[in-house]
């Protein structure tokens, strides 16, 4: 058989620098590097390299680099190299193309087309190092007005809320798609930061119940690992209707990632593919959703907020309006640039809409309908920096979900081969020797560092705007200006153009 696909990357070793320590040989789980005893020489198989930089990062002599091959097809702006290669792949396999992490396609990133305001002369900016600055956030349904009893105590019913010290949470990544050590890093960091991580749809490993106060437990269409103790273990329950990277389809975890622990946690047989149905078969309407929301509330004595997570799709505002009336406390919207452990490539790259537009549309719609206080809004799906967080809050979000940045903090190099199950950084794998590469002491510290740094930056930007509480930034779209956007885009985002 002819191999139509030539390697994408070339491993370049500088022989002047290499000391033949063979660290690269030992560390590349893809077996790209090898050592020949007889010749005392290292050699490579470029075809197996996924460009994860494990060898590059660990080479003590800085002797390695990975370059994109300059081997090329005749250039075409229409039949690009990617398209040609995908066709070869499918002609080889006859199968659906699978990919991991967020889409690499060059769709507009609206975060980068919005600019943040700052005070000058007429209203003073605030120095967060010297003056109080509040970024604590309460997530959930808020009362419309307060009523008091004659003795002065509050009569109004209080709804369960999540208290976040920073408006940033770690979004759903299941145990199975990522390793137990990765979960442990997220759980420990969430505890230290006073925020939450999300189990994803794979259940909760028994060793992680102790982090329950900082855990959001997810209920997805496959219902993997869902039982009463699991529901009670977390501080909130998230019903996953959809995921930004693959709206309209369910999760897929290859059997190769389902070993003993994952199988016990998910309550499914070892080695079986875990394929979640595309819809929840008990939810065909907002009324059905309401039933599930209330079943979950009933199961947890109405003490925990229920989140409904949806992918950002064309009618997102109308859908969110329905969810806000379903009894759910929080809506999570996941944009189409969001990551995934495994998704059909064509769906990842072509289905859904950007989260910035979805957020603005949902916030506007809920305000117009007077039901914005019914729910908290959380957005995810490519929130990449503290500036993105500030812009999201100004567009109307209560908090954000981050996943890809969290994985990057843990060492992920976005090689986008999570679905292979051989993550060289110990994140998206269940192979014990690879999982061990992620020491939770290091990982949790790096996550805490990242979010702490973002929190400082958020406060700096708020201070610059003369705002000292995140509440005053929320939905404050006057703090944003568009740059290079059409009138239609500005209208949807509800912001003015720079200069206006």
């Amino acid at each position: 058989m002819i191999d139509y696909i030539q390697p994408d990357y070339e491993v370049v070793r500088n022989k002047d620098l290499c000391v033949k320590c063979k660290v690269c040989v030992r560390q590349c789980a893809n077996q790209v590097h090898a050592y020949d005893e007889k010749r005392d020489a290292l050699y490579v198989d470029n075809s197996k390299c996924v460009n994860c930089h494990r060898c590059v990062s660990l080479c003590p002599a800085h002797a390695l680099k990975i370059v994109k091959t300059d081997h090329c097809f005749k250039p075409s702006a229409n039949y690009t190299e990617d398209i040609i290669k995908d066709i070869y792949r499918q002609a080889d396999s006859g199968g659906v193309l699978l990919s991991s992490m967020g889409t690499p396609k060059s769709y507009p990133v609206y975060w980068d087309k919005m600019l943040i305001n700052a005070s000058q002369v007429t209203n003073p900016s605030i120095d967060p190092l010297r003056e109080p600055m509040e970024i604590k956030t309460f997530l959930g349904k808020k009362p419309e007005a307060l009523e008091y009893l004659p003795d002065g105590s509050i009569k109004t019913e209080k709804y369960p809320n999540l208290e976040l010290k920073v408006p940033i949470m770690f979004s759903a990544m299941s145990y199975g798609s990522i390793s137990k050590n990765a979960h442990l890093c997220l759980a420990r960091a969430a505890r230290e930061l006073g925020t939450f991580y999300n189990t994803g749809e794979g259940g909760l490993h028994e060793d992680l119940y102790e982090y329950g106060e900082n855990t959001i437990v997810q209920v997805a269409s496959g219902r993997f690992g869902v039982h009463p103790a699991y529901l009670r273990a977390g501080s909130a329950i998230e019903i996953k209707i959809g995921q930004g990277a693959k709206p309209g389809i369910g999760g897929h975890l290859p059997g190769s990632k389902i070993g003993e622990d994952v199988s016990r946690t998910r309550m499914i047989p070892m080695g079986s593919d875990a394929i979640s149905p595309a819809p929840h078969h008990d939810i065909y309407s907002i009324e059905d959703l309401r039933q599930l929301v209330y079943s979950l509330k009933e199961a947890t004595d109405y003490k925990k907020p229920v989140i409904v997570k949806i992918a950002a799709v064309h009618n997102v505002a109308a859908i969110a309006s329905g969810i806000a009336r379903s009894g759910a406390d929080i809506i999570a919207i996941d944009g189409f640039r969001g990551g995934t452990g495994a998704a059909p490539t064509r769906i990842r790259d072509n289905v859904g809409i950007p989260v910035e537009l979805a957020l603005a549309a949902v916030d506007t719609r809920l305000r117009e309908e007077g039901i914005r206080n019914n729910v908290g809004i959380v957005v995810g799906g490519s929130v990449r920096s503290s500036a993105d967080v500030v812009k999201a809050v100004a567009l109307g979000a209560d908090a954000v979900y981050i996943a890809t940045p969290a994985l990057l903090a843990l060492g992920c190099h976005l090689c986008r081969s999570c679905h292979s199950g051989r993550c060289n950084w110990g994140i998206a794998t269940q192979i014990p020797e690879l999982v061990n590469r992620l020491n939770p002491d290091i990982g949790a510290r790096r996550l805490v560092n990242l979010v702490t740094a973002w929190a400082h930056e958020i406060m700096e930007m708020m201070g610059g705007m003369g705002i000292n509480s995140i509440e005053a930034l929320r939905g404050n779209r006057l703090m944003l200006r568009g740059i290079g956007l059409s009138q239609k885009e500005l209208d949807i985002l509800g912001i003015k153009h720079a200069g206006e």
Partner: protein
């Protein structure tokens, strides 16, 4: 005193510690230069390995060091930091210390050549290079109970 301790749970067997040790002891400024002359680990630290279990062992700088007691040429001594150091100009390579060390931490430098052992990176301000370059915190430099 502070010693290098191992967390075998996190050791990957990558052997970076071994190479950084050789570099540290070489006194060279550029990593590859340390290996020009054919130098090969182990020196002060060595990774023991069987199957998927790995851990790095090195000198315990014992309270009551048998190596020092047994040294026939007075090449071994304890410095002000508590580290057992070797004076390469005095060591005759008799390997008595190697035979005596209960931890198997001293490495032969070849027949009649000075031995190699951990000196806690005395030449690098006592910042153990093995520890600072371990990718997974599998070795730590900590104050702990005396041996």
């Amino acid at each position: 005193m502070k010693r290098v301790y191992v967390n075998e749970e996190w050791c990957l067997g990558c052997r970076l510690c071994e190479y950084w040790c050789v570099f540290s002891a070489s006194g060279e400024k550029h990593f590859p230069f340390a290996f020009d002359g054919g130098a090969k680990p182990p020196a002060g630290i060595q990774v023991e390995e069987r199957g998927s279990v790995h851990f790095a062992v090195n000198c315990r700088h014992c309270e009551d060091p048998l190596c020092l007691k047994g040294c026939i040429s007075g090449a071994l001594s304890r410095d002000g930091y508590g580290a057992i150091r070797v004076d390469k100009t005095k060591c005759v390579g008799c390997h008595t210390c190697i035979a005596l060390c209960p931890y198997g931490c001293i490495v032969s430098g070849g027949d009649n050549m000075p031995i190699k052992k951990c000196q806690l990176c005395a030449g690098k301000d006592y910042t153990p290079q093995c520890v600072s370059h371990c990718p997974n915190n599998a070795i730590v430099f900590e104050e702990d109970e005396d041996l």
